[in-house]
Symmetry: C2
Subunit: 190 residues, 2 copies
């Protein structure tokens, strides 16, 4: 029976390596090296790099703090704004050098792997659902117009966020984030 | 002096291979094979895969028909809608299997290559400028409110598009495109 801690180290290393270098550019040896594990140990824990990517995506999703979007003790628009501010700050801290691992693996792997595609699809769905819940709360509170249904707005805002990250990485500036906050909180969610 | 046609074949093959498989997953041999050229001929034309990626991005940009966004014989909102409908149709035709090469290479390569990053930055800027011009025309025509400046709206709509492509590829459905058209043309550009 393999040690649980080595498995956890491999998952954490995979999240970090995929996030920093991409999927194809990261070899199994890069992951075992980063985890301080012998290369041969990898296959005691995962049948393939692809299988590890699925688990890494699930682990990454847990760091996104979607539960904050559901925290009814905080005003719904505040939850939404804090959620995206926190994601923005993480990207700015890395000097615009890290995107969203869910978006990254969608771009690089989803067309080629059914299991990765199913995982990113579910991640985006869970994220969109959490955003929709906060938006619906804001609509109930009278803070956001009910012209559009919350799930359409949520799906759109999520797309706009993923694209803003791409734009910020392309020009290493916060311009796209500024446009995101101006339009989302100044026009759409009001 | 190398033949111009082989160079062109290599560029076209690179656009197709990078778009279909990603940057890291595409080797120089994949490109020369797709171009029907001997591998050794590659370096007569390009010093590196990275250098070819820069040229491939420029060539891809020429296929985006930004000139249509500047065509003042067409009503500005019609230009904008047709632009995104055309991009959407291209993605639907490939069963949601191709994104935007500019966005793809931003995600996969921009953090690691200054020349690719400068090229995707310039591509997004040219695209955003063309969108801003059409939006400003729509504002002048009284079709779009002047509450926000055209360049902020353009940058935001571009992000929303890039993200919608990611979402569509993740769940192989047009849902994100529907949300994009509903929000962009039903709320933002009016």
């Amino acid at each position: 029976m393999p040690k649980a801690s080595l498995r956890e180290n491999l998952i954490a290393a995979a999240v970090q390596q995929f996030h920093a270098h991409g999927y194809a550019a990261t070899g199994v040896k890069d992951i075992t090296d980063a985890a301080g594990a012998p290369k041969g140990s990898f296959y005691n824990h995962f049948p393939s790099k692809e299988a590890l990517a699925v688990v890494a995506l699930e682990r990454y999703g847990e760091t996104m703090r979607l539960e904050h979007l559901r925290d009814s003790s905080v005003a719904p628009l505040t939850r939404l704004r804090e959620h995206f501010e926190s994601l923005r700050d993480a990207n700015v801290r890395t000097e615009f050098n890290r995107g969203c691992l869910v978006g990254d693996l969608t771009v690089e792997v989803a067309d080629h792997s059914d299991s990765v595609r199913a995982t990113v699809r579910d991640s985006f769905q869970a994220w969109s659902d959490a955003l929709a819940l906060a938006i619906a709360d804001a609509q109930e509170a009278g803070d956001v117009a009910k012209t559009l249904d919350a799930s359409t707005l949520a799906r759109f805002v999520l797309s706009a966020w993923e694209g803003a990250l791409i734009s910020a990485r392309a020009d290493r500036s916060a311009r796209a984030f500024e446009a995101f906050f101006t339009v989302v909180f100044g026009v759409l969610l009001r």
